[in-house]
Structure formats: C-alpha cells, structure tokens
C-alpha cells in the first residue's frame, strides 16, 4: 500500500489548480468533459425549445423569450427568421459536436478506458489535459458567434457552401444569409479547435488500449464499453482530419479569396460573385465523409455502455460477446463507405447512389446482430429495473425505431421524396440523438457512484426515465407523419404553404411534448446536483459488477490502484455462473478447473501471479 500513500501524498502536494482544473488525471479530465458537456446540453436544449416555439405557433409573440434573447426577437416579440435559422444551426452543431461527442467519448472514454483495462492513467496524460483545455475555448468561440454582426451562422450544422462561403467584408454579414458573416467564421474556427482536441483524445485512447492493458487483460477480455471506445477513437482519428481539411478550405474561400467551393457566375442578391471555378459538391463529399462516421462516433459508445448495463443489471453474461465485438468493428468499417447516402438528391449518378444504398443497408446487418444480442441478453435475465437499466432498455427501443426508418431513407427512390423533410428529422433524432442521449443517461446513472462516490436517487431516476421515454416518443414519432405529409425541415414558417396548414395541430402537439421533455430534464439536473453533495455514500461495487473499475475505490484514488496493478483472470461477464456462491465473479478472481460452458474442457487451476498481492474475498466485500 506504499504507493497508495505516496499517491495520497502527491495529491496533497498538488495545488487546487493542478488537481481539479489543469489536472492530468484521466478521471478528473473525464469529469470535466462530462460537466462541460452537460452544460452545453442545457444550452442546446434551450435552443431546441426555441425551435419548437416557432414551429408550434409560427409568428406568435413571446414576451419572456424576447427578454431572454434580445437580439433574436423583433420589438413586438416574434422570433426573427434569421435568428430561427441560427438557432437551428447552433442546436445541431452543439448537440452533435459539443454534447454527445464530448460527453460520450471525452467524458466516458477518459473516465473508463484506464479504469476498465487496469491502467493507472492514459498513455499521454499531458496531451490528455491539452485535449480537454481546447474544448472550453472552442465553446467560447462558438457561442461568441451569437454576439457578432449578423449573428450566429444560418447555414445549418452541415454549413453547405455557397451559403456558408459568401459574405460581405464591408458589413461583416453574410451575402445570402446574415449569419454567413463573422458568425460563420467563428463556427469554423471553433470546429477546427475542437477537432484538434478530438485528435489528441483519440490518439491517447488508442495508444492506451494497445499499450497499457494490465496483466491478463487481453483484447478478447476487454469489456464491450472499452471496445466501443477504442473503435470510436479509431473512427475519430480517421474521419475528423477530413472535416479539418474542409474547414480550412472554406475559411480560405471566405477570407483569402480562393474558390475551392464557390462556383463561377454565381449571382446573389443581383450581385455577381467574384469567386470562380469552385465546386460546392466537394464540400458535401468532404463533410459527409466525416459526417457519417461521426454518427457512429455518437452511437458506438452508447452501444458499449448499454451492453455493459444490460449484463450487470440483468445478472447475465452478454449474449455473443465475440459477435458484439465483431459487429462494432464491422459498423466502424462500413461507416466510411456510406457517406453518399446523404447526397442522393445532389445530382449524383444513380449507379453511384445504388452502390451507396448497398453499403448503407449492409450496416443493418451488424446493427441487427447487436440488437438481437441485447434482446437475447435480456431473455430470462434477472432484470433489476434500476434507472440505468431502464435507460439501456429504452436505448434498444429507440435504436430499433430509428433504425427501421433508416432502411427506408437508405433507398434512393424513397429518399428523393423524404430528403430534407421532418421524416429525416424524426429518423436521426431517434436513432442517433435520443438513443445516444439514453446511452449517456444510462451511463451516468450506472457510473455516477464510481465517478463521485455517491449514489443517485433511484425514484427520481425512474421518474426521469418514464417522462423522458414517453416525451421522446411523443415528440419525435409524430414527426414521421409531418415528414410524410411533406413538411420540410429548417423552414422558419412551413405553414405559409396551404398544403401544410392542416398540420398545425400536430405541430402544436409536438411542441407541447417537447416542452414536457425539456422540463423532465430538470428532474435529472436536480437529482444529479443534489446527489453530488447529498447522495448516500457509494460502496466500491454497488451494482456487484465484474469489470475492473468496480474493484477500485469509489471514487478511485489518484493512480487508481494500490501498490500493484490488478491481474485479470477471466472475461468481464461471469454473472450467475452455475454453482458459484455469488451471482458475480470479478475479473480479478482466478479460474478453477471446471466444466466450461460449451465443452467439457479441463485445465489446471490458474492461481495468482507470484507478485500478486493477497486480496480480500471479493464476494464478501
């Protein structure tokens, strides 16, 4: 235990700044990422409420909102059209890049990777600190765009040129949309900073997993949550540089007079644009070459989290561990080959579109493998309906609902009709946004005791789940019908068209459901903050889980483990092993000679390694 004391000493020696602010400890960095992301989730959530205000009651006057967002409303309290577009753009950008990517990859990745593989920290702790500290500046730059001439960008989270490329240097506002001025530049710079942060992070994750696994922790014994983070890091490393290149070229187009993306002979507002010879479709190719892997960057970590929760709270081994690992890898690989399905209506050669359809539909196979395995894990499981488990089951439901509409959208013939309608909005809010959010919530309820050493309130957690689950379906399911009826996304006032006027009732219902969904998150915020300070103290392993992080203290000390690193003797899913005294056997417990499931194979007792410290009987801990 000498090292533990040393570590404790070291912790005392470090000042407050080095311990909690400029910390190089992966756990603190993970928590920093998580807290910042939750703050950004609140920002993005408020923006979503503004969107629903406008779509539910177009042109209505909002006295209070006018007071909150003075620049975005006219004098009599109606939402300005360009502010609406800015809100839509920022909602998407914030939720995708600044909430889900950062919370799931930055937050859980940092916190869990070293703990689950039995390492003391990341391979490059300083680079890890740098990765986090690029994130707040990116936020500041992004949010600053609300306060510059022309306001926040209007071009959507995809920032398609020429709309995003053209601006008037004299006034500082956009040529076709006001937000394409300085606001768009800030958006691009902010993303560039964030991409560097992601690259530092993923470089660290991959190296750590390859290099710092403890003795006995072969790749085939890593928990699925770690496999998901590892694969996600590879995806990020290979896809975000493409967006970086696109961002640099768009910034050059905007400020240095180049014409990578702006075509010749473009007339905007009766004015001939001086750019010549660019091709806006190139941006779309580059953007979606990142953009599609990005949605798997958002969904793979929740898949890992959910696999973990289903096994722990269902007291059963995950069904088909190897198939789960293989399907994670297959999804990651295929995600690089499908970007064209975002561009079916861009005038693409139908033959190319068909090729992209094939790769897109092929992703359904590994996705279905995962879904069936989750359901099979639940089959005859002794399910503990904790909030974490409820959110994990909810994730499977949302993923199936959203995944099924993906099959329709993946077909070019259907997509031509559905492109840019609310059907697409419904699809990705189910399969990517809400599902990832459920993974995030499930993970938080599950690992909160490990992160903060306290338990969250279970009753409030269940209430939060049911309101959120019903709220999500009430908000996003009707959007399928809005989309089928032809309501386009991103329109300030779709009801200006006669044929959409009949949808105003449904839009109001969606808005009310969205408000309820938003309010339900206050329960989570209250529960989270209250539990941080007042929650009952958590024991080391409150869920009786097997993975290594639960064998450390809650919260784990600096350096995670005592004098010696843990030694791993078995896979992470030995739950309800027949004949065992407890229904869980941690990965650190040696294996006996015994009949192994699937074959009568005998092998000698695997005792502890010679230098392994004696540990207390974990089953009685």
């Amino acid at each position: 235990m000498a090292v533990m004391h040393e570590a404790a000493h070291e912790e005392h020696k470090l000042g407050f700044l080095q311990r909690y602010v400029f910390s190089q400890d992966h756990k603190i960095i993970g928590i920093q990422y998580m807290m910042t992301s939750l703050f950004m989730a609140a920002v993005g959530g408020v923006l979503a409420m503004l969107i629903r205000m406008e779509l539910g009651w177009p042109g209505a006057r909002w006295g209070l909102a006018k007071w909150l967002f003075p620049g975005g409303f006219t004098g009599d309290g109606t939402l300005k059209p360009d502010f609406y577009l800015a809100v839509v753009t920022m909602h998407g950008s914030i939720m995708i890049f600044f909430v889900l990517t950062t919370a799931l990859s930055g937050g859980f990745g940092n916190f869990l990777i070293p703990l689950t593989i039995g390492a003391r920290d990341m391979a490059f702790p300083f680079m890890n600190m740098l990765s986090y500290w690029l994130y707040p500046p990116a936020i500041v730059v992004l949010l600053a765009s609300f306060f510059v001439a022309g306001g926040a960008p209007n071009a959507g989270w995809t920032a398609y040129p020429p709309l995003s490329a053209l601006y008037n240097p004299a006034t500082g506002t956009g040529l076709a949309a006001p937000g394409s001025g300085l606001g768009q530049s800030l958006w691009l710079v902010s993303l560039a900073i964030l991409i560097v942060s992601f690259l530092f992070g993923s470089l660290n994750y991959i190296t750590t997993v390859l290099q710092l696994r403890t003795r006995g922790m072969s790749m085939g014994r890593m928990p699925l949550v770690t496999w998901a983070q590892f694969t996600t890091a590879i995806l990020m490393l290979l896809s975000f540089p493409v967006l970086f290149a696109a961002v640099v070229m768009l910034l050059f187009d905007r400020h240095l007079g180049t014409s990578f993306f702006v075509p010749s002979g473009l007339v905007v507002g009766g004015q001939l644009v001086t750019h010549q010879g660019g091709n806006p479709l190139l941006w779309q190719h580059l953007f979606w070459f990142l953009g599609h892997p990005e949605v798997y960057v958002l969904i793979l970590p929740p898949m890992g989290i959910v696999s973990e929760i289903l096994a722990v709270h269902g007291r059963k081994p995950i069904f088909g561990y190897k198939a789960m690992v293989a399907s994670i890898c297959a999804i990651a690989f295929l995600s690089f080959l499908v970007w064209g399905h975002h561009m079916f209506t861009s005038g693409m050669n139908p033959l190319v579109g068909t090729a992209f359809m094939v790769t897109t539909l092929a992703i359904a196979i590994p996705s279905a493998v995962k879904t069936f395995n989750w359901v099979a894990t639940l089959w005859r499981a002794r399910i503990h309906f904790t909030p974490a488990m409820l959110f994990a089951i909810g994730f499977v439901s949302l993923f199936v609902t959203g995944g099924l509409t993906g099959i329709f959208l993946g077909s070019p013939a259907v997509d031509v009709y559905f492109q840019d309608t609310f059907f697409v909005v419904a699809h990705f809010h189910f399969v990517m946004a809400s599902a990832a959010l459920f993974g995030l919530f499930g993970g938080l309820y599950h690992w909160f005791p490990k992160m903060f050493g306290r338990m969250m309130d279970e009753r409030l957690g269940k209430l939060h789940f049911w309101l959120t689950f019903v709220g999500i379906y009430a908000t996003f399911f009707p959007m399928h019908f809005l989309g089928m009826a032809g309501e386009p996304r991103r329109y300030y006032s779709p009801q200006m068209y006669d044929f959409l006027r009949g949808l105003s009732g449904l839009n109001m219902f969606v808005s009310l459901a969205a408000f309820g969904l938003g309010l339900a998150q206050l329960i989570f915020a209250y529960n989270f903050i209250r539990s941080l300070f007042r929650g009952p103290k958590a024991e080391g392993n409150p869920w009786h889980a097997n993975t290594l992080e639960w064998q450390a203290d809650s919260p784990p000390p600096h350096g995670n483990w005592g004098a010696t690193l843990p030694t791993v003797h078995r896979w992470p899913y030995d739950y309800s092993v027949p004949g065992a005294t407890e229904d869980y056997i941690p990965q650190t417990v040696p294996v006996t000679a015994a009949v192994v499931a699937g074959g009568a194979l005998h092998h000698p007792v695997q005792g502890g390694a010679p230098d392994e410290p004696p540990t207390t009987d974990l089953n009685s801990a």
Partner: protein, 216 residues
Amino acid sequence: MPAPTRTLERPPSARDPGTPAIGGRGPDGTGGDALAGTPATTPARIAVWLLVGAITVLFAAFTSTYLVRRGEADWRVGPLPPVLWVTTGVLLGSSVALEGARRHARRGEMAGLRTWLTVTTLLGLAFLAGQLLAWRQLVAAGVYLSSYPHSSFFYLLTGAHGLHLAGGIGALLYAVRRAPAAATAAAALDVADPVAAYWHFLTGLWIYLFVILFAL
C-alpha cells in the same frame, strides 16, 4: 487470494484451452512483459503511426479535392519555381542524414547520432527556407493564393506540408537533446525512431505533393 471459481468464458480454442494471465502489458514494472515474453514497444512508437494515419487522411482530403477539381475544363497549371527541385533534393538528403543518425544510434555511437541529427535538422530548416523562397518567387511573378485554382492548391498544400514539417523540426530538436543523452542504444532509438518515422513520412508526402502538383 479469493477462492478460484468457474468461468463462463469461452476458451480461445479446443487445443488452447488455457486462460493464463497474459495479454496485457501493464506499466510500472508490474506488467506481464516477463510473463508474456512479448517485446515491449513504447507509447511514442504507436502514437507516431496514429499521427501519420491522421495526417494521411488530412492530405487525402486535400488532394482528393485537388484531383477532382483538376479534371474540369478550365484547369491550368501554374509555373514551377525551379527552387523546388533544390528543396526536394534537400529534403531527400535530410532523410538520408536521419538514417545515418539511426545507424550510429544502433551502434551506440552517441556523438555521431548527435551530429547527424543536427545535420537533419539544418537540412529541414533549409527546406523550409527554400519553400518560402518559392512562395516569394511566385508572388514576384504575380501568382497569388487567389489567382487561379492551381495556385490556391499550391499554396494550400505546400503551406500545410510546411506546417507539419515545422512540427517535425520541433521533434528533431527534442531528439537532438534527448537521444544522444540516452543510456543505451535501445533507449536512444526509442527517441529517434518515432521522430524518424514522422520525418520520412513527411519526405514521402512532399514527393507525392510535388508529383501531383506539377508532374501528373
């Protein structure tokens, strides 16, 4: 020590049913290196290849755009500043010098290692100076960033490559300080090898850029 128990883990195969404690390579000397008998590699050796992968993707994005754009009818290629032949030679020379440094490191000749690493660094700086000179020559000839698509790509690609090379010079300076000071030849190579991998990659990247910008 907790009592050993059964497992539900599937053995790797019928012939190899054992599940000994191998596979991970923990740090701090408590890892399984001695048990597993696998040669250790350093985090930097892994990280450099990941970095090379990310930069490859970055330039794949830049140059795929370039290759698509080049296919259009209004394409014309700008003048080739002759100094680029010199800088190409200098950069190739720097890679050769770096290999010389590694040869010395393998034999444990730290003085030679330092000399050749320094030569590599100076050649790298000379390359950057030459690239800047090429930019100045083009500007003098009236070819600017926004003149026409080829010139835009020329400045973009050479600039992006130059920035990465400047980072490589930082890494070389680190190696000049650290590698010859290492206790053993292996420790010196642990510093020099990742830097060399990065530097050779940048040399190869420049050849690729030079070829697609002017030859093809």
